[in-house]
């Protein structure tokens, strides 16, 4: 049995299954919310089951190669093909997108944001899932682009309809900004196709394998320009400094579910694009661009952290922390070493788990306190202790505590930036990277600063009298010692749906933190394979 080619329907099934759920949901009346939720849930569970089957059937001995590979003609005139395949880099992200969608749907069970309409909300979620999963398995540029764009609209509606007060501004900004990046990206894709086609008699193709073979042959100057277009497209999505300003607005205004998906998966489409497309297709240009990317990444790390320190709103703080964390991912990628890119891919998954979790928490805090203003929140550990401890756990994971997942994205990235690829040695580039190592390490200090500050302010101390049922505010220590069960009237601790939605993430953060090899074993061969062009 050839794992690489057998069961080639599996990825199509996993990718498009959510659309089947969407079709069924079309026929459910809008008022029947329970049925809509049920169908969405069943669809998501089925999708995860397909994903789990993929995990089981995946041949880990050959994770460098594309498995469950399928390829057909699709749009013959422009030589676009329908090509799907999955290797060690795609697998964790592909599966993560499925799991996150399921957890978000579970969370939505009793958290449909205003103005309601569970049916539409969940349908958008499932469409989103198809786009995300498709992006990670597409092995053809046009197909990749289609999936990449499919993601955009559901998220636009999610923010624009179910978002906060400034949802219209935020959603439009998100949409237009990303579109702007995509447009440049598409131009680059087409240019790449035309340039590589010119070299050969075969007539070119949009398949990734074609570009991997012929991309490196392009003249260096041309390659640098094509890379520029892709860079903008992906950098907006990541988002890298200075293309990040859509992110805090989108995150702050998006409903909890939207923020979680945005942080956990959508941002990774950008970094995935760098790892899968920009760098392997245009290695010469990548070498030229790497120092610039690394500098921007490090600016993002420090700048994002400073942005966090300036925030007064918990959700916006978490949003800014994404800028900083994605900076570490991009730094890893910019080193062009297997170690750095491994760290980056790990960092993507870890950031997805941790920041996704933080946004869940922010949503639940907002639901309970009706505010996310850091100044007004305090003593959460006393009023809602379980949620408070989970917040502490996630803050620790986010600041890169070893033994939890976040560390394995940051630490190897820092180490690899001290020792970047052989191609990046010389012309003072090595010294530049080494300075950036120190800058990035400084970023970990600032991360500890803003996260602990957030935690100390919101979780420790006595609860704000504003939110206690007694409302007296005269909590002496002795009264407080009364096992801390003076809950406010509408404050309840973590509920069942939240537990179900969060537990898998919390477990994953610990498991990957304690035993990172579980994921590295899968990623590493694929990364090493892609990074072979850069030597050492």
């Amino acid at each position: 049995m050839d794992v690489l080619r057998d069961q080639n329907w599996l990825l199509s099934l996993g990718t498009f299954l959510p659309l089947a759920g969407v079709v069924i949901m079309l026929f459910i009346p809008k008022r029947d919310e329970e049925s809509a939720k049920l169908v969405a849930l069943v669809t998501a569970i089925a999708t995860v089951a397909v994903g789990a089957y993929t995990l089981v059937k995946f041949d880990y001995g050959q994770s460098a190669k594309l498995q469950f590979f399928t390829s057909h003609d699709w749009i013959r005139p422009i030589r676009a093909t329908y090509t799907l395949g999955l290797d060690g880099i795609s697998l964790p992200l592909y599966f993560l997108s499925m799991v996150i969608t399921l957890l978000v749907i579970i969370y939505s069970w009793d958290h449909i944001p205003s103005p309601g309409n569970a049916k539409a909300f969940l349908m958008l979620m499932l469409v989103l899932q198809t786009g995300m999963a498709g992006t990670f398995v597409a092995q053809d540029l046009i197909l990749f682009f289609v999936f990449f764009e499919v993601v955009l609209l559901p998220m636009y509606f999610m923010i624009g309809v179910w978002g906060g007060e400034q949802r219209q501004y935020a959603s439009l900004k998100f949409f237009l900004y990303t579109m702007f990046g995509s447009a440049l990206m598409l131009v680059s894709f087409i240019a790449l196709f035309i340039v590589t086609k010119g070299n050969t008699a075969e007539g070119g193709s949009f398949a990734f394998s074609w570009f991997q073979a012929h991309g490196p042959e392009i003249a260096k100057t041309t390659a640098i320009w094509i890379f520029a277009g892709m860079f903008v497209g992906f950098a907006v999505k990541v988002p890298m400094f200075p293309f990040h300003t859509w992110l805090p607005d989108a995150h702050t205004q998006a409903p909890t579910q939207g923020s979680v998906i945005l942080a956990a998966i959508l941002l990774k489409l950008g970094t995935y694009g760098f790892v899968r497309i920009a760098i392997p297709f245009l290695p010469q240009a990548a070498v030229k661009w790497a120092p610039a990317i690394a500098v921007l990444a490090c600016i993002g790390i420090i700048y994002g952290a400073l942005g966090c320190l300036a925030q007064t709103d918990m959700k916006r703080l978490i949003a800014f922390s994404s800028v900083a964390h994605m900076g570490f991912v991009m730094l890893g990628i910019a080193t062009l070493t297997p170690l750095g890119v491994n760290a980056a891919v790990f960092g993507m998954v870890a950031h997805g788990l941790i920041t996704g979790m933080l946004f869940f928490l922010a949503g639940s805090v907002k639901e309970r306190y009706h505010t996310l203003e850091i100044r007004r929140l305090s003593g959460m550990l006393k009023q809602i202790p379980r949620l408070g401890w989970i917040l502490g756990f996630c803050a620790m994971a986010s600041l890169g505590l070893p033994g939890l997942a976040g560390f394995w994205g940051e630490f190897p990235a820092i180490i690899s930036s001290w020792n970047p690829a052989q191609a990046l040695v010389g012309d003072g580039k090595l010294d530049l990277f080494r300075v950036l190592t120190v800058v990035a390490a400084l970023g970990t200090v600032l991360a500890a600063g803003y996260l602990l500050w957030l935690y100390q302010r919101t979780a420790f101390g006595e609860p704000n009298p504003e939110f206690t049922s007694h409302g007296s505010g005269a909590h002496s220590l002795s009264a407080a010692a009364n096992h801390g069960d003076d809950h406010g009237s509408d404050l309840h601790d973590v509920n069942t749906y939240e537990w179900i939605a969060w537990t898998p993430l919390l477990i994953a953060i610990v498991v990957f933190g304690v035993y990172p090899q579980l994921m590295f074993k899968v990623i590493d061969p694929a990364v090493t394979n892609l990074m072979r062009v850069f030597g050492k």
């Binding site: 969407v22 003609d73 439009l172 300036a310 925030q311 560390f407 190592t437 970990t444 420790f460 002795s478």
Partner: protein, 728 residues
């Protein structure tokens, strides 16, 4: 376990016994116990404490077995026992989880397991009835697990793991009573300050890896000792970066400021933190990869009289000892004392006295742990949960004999009174500084010995002798107002001066007589005091005992550092005399200043301006806290962060918004002037595209988004499918 699959036991282990090859169990047991406590502790009979203590005892038993086997094993000059399981692999970069068992590791394992066990037993009584009893034991257990992981680390990454876990636990434990803001601030400060140093650890590890291509501790030591093939400048860089981490963790100047604030935690935590875990981690790291520092900083190179480690250590010895004079809080005296003693250890490593410095880790752990536990005992049953020596103590010697005697023995050991353990370790450091031609640090060491004795005499006098005051005199003052003592100064921060046990604090019937604590507290005290006396005889130079040296000092270090000085009583004489002088001087001063009789010494700092200024300078901790908190942290958190954010909102985002608005205006202009007038409806579709930018929100407001979205994607999906089928 998952890890067991890739057992890569080295061949060298065949001669070693079971304990030596299974030492990795020592941190694993408490680590598992942590999860058991946190998940099931509350439902257990003793709320999880039994699991914690059982795990520590198990770790102690294995550590003891390891020690016994190691002592037999060293008979044939054996290499370390190394085992490792792959934890992380990327291309040819690999590191594992495992164990690196040599004399140093065995010593530290035994020490940590032993002290942790005693502290946990002590805590049973001390934190009984606390509102977060289970959490307390869970954190304490994880704390020990972190330190144990670190000391047997096979590679730098595992070391970082243990190192950071300790940071986390210190955060949890210092902030144990987080309802009070002072405590949570102290916790934050501890974690954050150490984290600043950790930057050096991450960078230094990266530099070492770049230089030597390995994370493995044994390889690092061997390669550096061998020399050649790498740049000395880079090695220096690595050494400096790593040393910055040690400064943060071990409370060395100038990052020592978190340590006294860390007294906000419960006393058993202070005891554990200051004796064998956490703060010695930095010293341990220097000792662990000593060749890196020794070569990188040119220690013991002929003609060298100062180096970074010795300077930092030396400064720390003096400045911390000076601060200990002006503390009213007994725990803070001990905290600064710890800082000062850590300075000794660093200084010892800086002058090439490896064995003496590591031996000082060993002896210091016993007497410092004992002193902290004594302080806890005093507050527990003597001074009504206060730690203020001036307000609530005095004259406790007769009322708490066990506590007082164990305190006295440990104090003697700390001061370096001959024939107590501290004498053998500290004097060896001072002597080596002289012997290795680091004359400045020889003087620093001697002055430090004088100061140590003086401040400990003061603390002892205030606590156990003289007139009982406040709670010690059965008197509970309602507020913490000024009682008009000579040194009263409003700038003295009083936060963290109380172990507030929540409900216990106000409920104890008054008045009560100070008395000795229960056996759960006194037995650990007695054991530790006994060890404070005798532990020095493992390496007593005057009696030509060198067992500790023989068991612990690794070959690679032994070949590197100069041979220790031969002991001569004449060389020890200056320090002995200074200890005696410190005692006499301080006793005289205490009697004058704190005694009942009128004295010219009283209120001296108020009358003599320069003395007053000096006193204020000390009370304000050299204004370092102000510098860090008000200038550095406040600067970054406020002007810089706010400035960056302002730029974000107004410049970067301003451009984005301007482009958006400009685009919309252009679209509108094109639509009005070109589309409507020129093309005039001929191509309405192109106008819609321009309009789209301006009115993209219309469908959102129309409320029919769901149908719209669904239709759009159904259409896209169907179109894709059709194309696919058609093309087949």
């Amino acid at each position: 376990m998952l890890l067991a699959a890739e057992d890569a036991a080295a061949e060298a282990t065949h001669a070693a016994g079971w304990f030596l090859t299974h030492a990795w169990l020592i941190p694993l047991i408490p680590a598992i116990a942590f999860f058991v406590i946190i998940l099931f502790g509350k439902r257990m009979r003793f709320h999880g404490a039994e699991v914690g203590i059982a795990s520590m005892v198990a770790a102690l038993v294995i550590a003891a077995g390891t020690a016994v086997q190691w002592i037999r094993y060293t008979g044939h000059e054996a290499p370390p026992v190394i085992r490792s399981w792959t934890w992380w692999q990327s291309g040819n970069v690999r590191f594992g989880l495992g164990q690196h068992i040599d004399g140093l590791a065995v010593m530290a394992l035994l020490l940590v397991a032993f002290i942790s066990t005693l502290v946990q037993i002590y805590s049973l009584e001390y934190v009984r009835g606390d509102r977060r009893f289970t959490h307390f034991f869970a954190s304490l257990t994880l704390f020990s697990a972190g330190m144990l992981t670190m000391v047997l680390a096979e590679n730098m990454v595992q070391l970082i793991l243990g190192w950071e876990i300790m940071g986390l636990c210190s955060f949890l434990l210092i902030g144990h009573w987080w309802e009070e803001e002072a405590n949570s601030r102290a916790a934050l400060k501890a974690f954050f300050t150490v984290r600043v140093g950790d930057m050096g650890l991450l960078v230094g590890t990266g530099v070492l890896f770049g230089l030597l291509g390995t994370f493995n501790i044994a390889d690092i030591n061997a390669k550096v000792a061998e020399g050649g093939g790498f740049s000395h400048r880079t090695l220096t860089l690595a050494a400096v970066a790593l040393f910055i981490a040690c400064i943060g963790k071990s409370g060395q100047f100038p990052l020592h400021t978190w340590l006294p604030d860390a007294m906000a935690g419960p006393t058993p935590v202070s005891s554990l933190l200051h004796s064998s875990t956490m703060v010695v981690a930095g010293v341990f790291l220097v000792a662990r990869i000593y060749p890196v520092f020794h070569q990188g900083l040119d220690i013991n190179v002929a003609g060298q009289h100062v180096n970074l480690i010795a300077v930092i250590g030396g400064i720390t010895v003096l400045i911390a000892a000076a601060l200990a004079f002006v503390q009213n809080d007994i725990k803070k005296v001990l905290a600064y004392s710890t800082v000062s003693q850590l300075g000794y250890m660093m200084m010892g490593l800086g002058v090439g006295a490896w064995t003496a410095a590591v031996f000082h880790i060993f002896t210091h752990a016993f007497f410092k742990c004992c002193l902290f536990l004594c302080a806890g005992s005093v507050s527990h049953t003597g001074s009504h949960h206060s730690f203020d020596m001036k307000k609530d103590m005095g004259g406790l010697f007769r009322k708490m004999p066990v506590t007082a005697w164990t305190w006295l023995l440990s104090t003697a050991a700390l001061c370096g009174v001959p024939f107590f353990s501290g004498f053998f370790s500290k004097d060896e450091i001072i002597d080596s500084a002289h012997h290795n031609h680091y004359t400045i640090f020889w003087i620093v060491g001697l002055v430090g010995a004088f100061m140590t004795t003086a401040y400990m005499t003061r603390a002892t006098y205030l606590t156990f002798f003289g007139q009982p005051r406040g709670a010690a005199a059965h008197f509970v003052h309602g507020d913490h107002g000024d009682h008009g003592d000579a040194h009263a100064d409003p700038a003295v921060d009083t936060h963290g001066a109380h172990d507030t046990h929540g409900d216990v604090r106000h409920s104890r019937p008054l008045p009560f007589a100070p008395h000795d604590s229960g056996w759960l507290i006194t037995v650990p005290l007695i054991i530790l005091a006994a060890l404070a006396v005798v532990s020095g005889y493992l390496n007593a130079a005057p009696f030509h005992i060198e067992k500790f040296h023989h068991w612990v000092t690794p070959k690679v270090v032994e070949e590197m550092v100069p041979e220790g000085p031969a002991f001569r009583w004449l060389n020890a004489l200056p320090s002995i005399l200074l200890v005696a002088a410190g005692f006499a001087f301080s006793l005289y001063l205490c009697r004058q200043v704190y005694g009942a009789a009128a004295s010219a010494w009283k209120g001296l700092t108020r009358r003599v301006a320069p003395l007053g200024a000096g006193h204020r300078f000390l009370v304000n901790k050299y204004y370092l806290d102000d510098l860090y908190e008000k200038v550095v942290v406040h600067g970054i958190a406020h002007p810089i962060a706010q400035g960056a954010y302002w730029i974000n909102q107004h410049v970067i985002d301003g451009i984005v918004n301007a482009v958006g608005i400009g685009g919309k205006r252009t679209g509108g202009w094109v639509y009005r002037n070109i589309d409507q007038r020129v093309v005039d409806g001929a191509v309405n579709g192109s106008g819609a595209a321009a309009q789209g930018a301006g009115s993209a929100l219309r469908p959102v407001q129309s409320g029919k988004v769901n149908q719209y979205g669904a239709l759009l994607f159904s259409a896209a999906a169907v179109a894709a499918l059709v194309l696919f089928v058609v093309n087949r």
